[in-house]
């Protein structure tokens, strides 16, 4: 365990930036935290978490896959991929850090998505333990310990001091390059962790019961009549999907300018009405089916295919951001009540 005074954070960030790119949560012009490329003077946000999730750094909203140049009948493939520089992402909360392992299960399973893989390989994740959770947090219910996040390095901010613990080789390597970090007792974070854990238990959603969900529950949940009322106000926008740290549906589209074509990948949302639309028909014709797909995917399908792991980390972004305040917690609570 190492430490550095909070007042020296700039020195720490400058030292990291000297080696590689550094992203930290900083407030944007609308006062929300966003992962932002650090530059001298950029302050660490005081907010609990970023408005957009940390997945953006590994699975950006839009990325080029490949280009084509067309020559009278012939096609020339143009490489558009650029190898990213190494980067450090600082201040990732426990929930978002957990989301990386969920995304890994999708993108790093065969066939491996090399774009994602490449970014993951270049990144060092420095997490930051929570101390003041929001009422919307329910990471504990998803098995996340907000007081002890994973990542290559774990940090705690406590009384003007940043505690730093390298967890992996990558973390160690980064730590070695940061001489300003000074050793401190291994139990320096214990008190804070205990406080946070106690606090987590007091949160309104701490006792969220997930027993009705998980692998094998498709039949029990698929035809529940509550889907209709749950989804009736849904606008079919992509807000929940796009702020979600684990949503990873994407679309492959093309941009053409006559002689050349760029094929790119962009985020897509299963909540969109055209997501599964084909010329032959639409397997999910109304918002009810689309809504059901999103939540069953997180709560049943994903766990079934991934050793029981839920596709949700309890970050609470969708609770805060949904225009009509419909969210996974309401779904869990509504469907969690089994019929008599």
């Amino acid at each position: 365990m190492k430490q550095i005074a909070k007042t020296e954070l700039d020195t720490l960030f400058a030292a990291i930036t000297a080696e590689q790119k550094l992203y930290i949560p900083a407030d944007d012009s609308a006062g929300q935290a966003q992962f932002t490329l650090w530059r001298p003077g950029l302050a660490l946000s005081g907010r609990l978490n970023t408005a957009r999730s940390a997945k953006d750094l590994f699975f950006p909203q839009v990325e080029n896959l490949v280009g084509f140049r067309m020559h009278a009948g012939a096609i020339e493939r143009v490489e558009t991929r650029e190898e990213p520089e190494d980067f450090v992402i600082f201040g990732v909360r426990a929930c978002d850090c957990r989301s990386f392992s969920i995304l890994d299960r999708v993108f790093l399973s065969e066939p491996v998505d090399t774009f994602y893989q490449m970014r993951r390989a270049h990144a060092t994740v420095v997490t930051l333990a929570c101390t003041r959770p929001e009422e919307t947090c329910f990471c504990a219910a998803m098995g996340v310990d907000a007081a002890d996040p994973a990542g290559d390095v774990t940090c705690w901010l406590e009384d003007g001091t940043l505690l730093w613990r390298a967890n992996t080789e990558k973390g160690e390597a980064l730590t070695e390059k940061l001489p300003m970090l000074r050793p401190c007792p291994a139990d320096a974070a214990d008190a804070q962790q205990a406080r946070t854990r106690a606090l987590m238990q007091k949160l309104p959603l701490a006792k969220l019961d997930l027993s009705a969900f998980g692998a094998g529950k498709t039949r029990a949940l698929f035809d529940r009549p509550e889907w209709a009322s749950l989804s009736e106000a849904c606008l079919g926008c992509g807000t929940c999907t796009f702020v979600c740290p684990t949503c990873q549906c994407y679309d492959v589209e093309e941009f053409r300018d006559g002689s050349s074509v760029r094929r790119f990948r962009c985020w897509d949302s299963c909540m969109y009405s055209d997501f599964t639309k084909m010329s032959a028909g639409q397997p999910r014709p109304t918002q009810r089916e689309r809504f059901r797909q999103r939540f069953l995917h997180k709560l049943v399908y994903f766990p079934e295919n991934n050793d029981g792991v839920f596709g949700c980390v309890g970050c609470g972004r969708c609770l805060a951001k949904c225009p009509i305040h419909m969210n996974i917690v309401k779904v869990i609570k509504t469907l969690g009540v089994t019929h008599a």
């Binding site: 009948g73 490449m118 698929f222 994407y250």
Partner: protein, 275 residues
Amino acid sequence: MKQDPLIPEIGVVTDIRTDTPDVKTFRVVGLDGKKPFTHIPGQCAMLSVPGVGEALFSITSSPTQTEYLEFSIKKCGCVTDWLHAMEPGRQITIRGPYGNGFPVDTDFAGKDLLFIAGGIGLAPLHSVINYCRHYRSRYGAIDIVYGSRSMEDLVDYPEILNEWSREDGIRVHLTIDREQPEWDGHVGFVPNYVRELAPDTARTVVMCGPPVMIKFTLAALMDLGFDRTSIYTTMELRMKCALGKCGRCNIGTKYVCKDGPVFRFDQLDELPDEY
């Protein structure tokens, strides 16, 4: 770095055959003139015309064809319109193979087979049938029931007539929906024809065709006493990645592009009704 699975190779369309008024068969090789990849019958590939779009097609040619891949494609939508207007020699992009394919070397081995196809549904079965013909000794009797709207809409008619029908141990049963002057074969819908033929329930059935045909043929097979565990079909849903990642083609926990497109009916019964 390894080539990303989303990035296709360039292929050349070396031959285009017109099968029916709206079906053409495209022969595709790589830029090196060789077959782009090897596959299992029932697997698919993503073909695209850059600037127009990418779509998944089942591979029609048998794995035993070592020179090239073939795709029988019905005209319905942007990509297929473009392909249909194409001339031989033009390039497209190709990636694959995708999907699980038929269990030709396991579950099918040693079995009597019944193929049931309607219209363009013959395309994925074509590969299996020719594979079975190539390794004829590994399989028992083969019956093929194939129907379409009219005589003109029968895909691969010459091949069926001149090769399949003439082979020992293969019986071909053709039917068309409505009477036609030049047609002296069976007239009627596939499900009814299957009932008439009343095949042996010990057979392994491979079925592909339009949803209505599947629905009623399945009912016919059930009535005849077939077991759902011995009936296979292949599915099609909207796909973008074909890698089981983009999130479109799942039915419950199964991804059609990765876990399918070939399913047994007992497997489909396990899935929620969303297709």
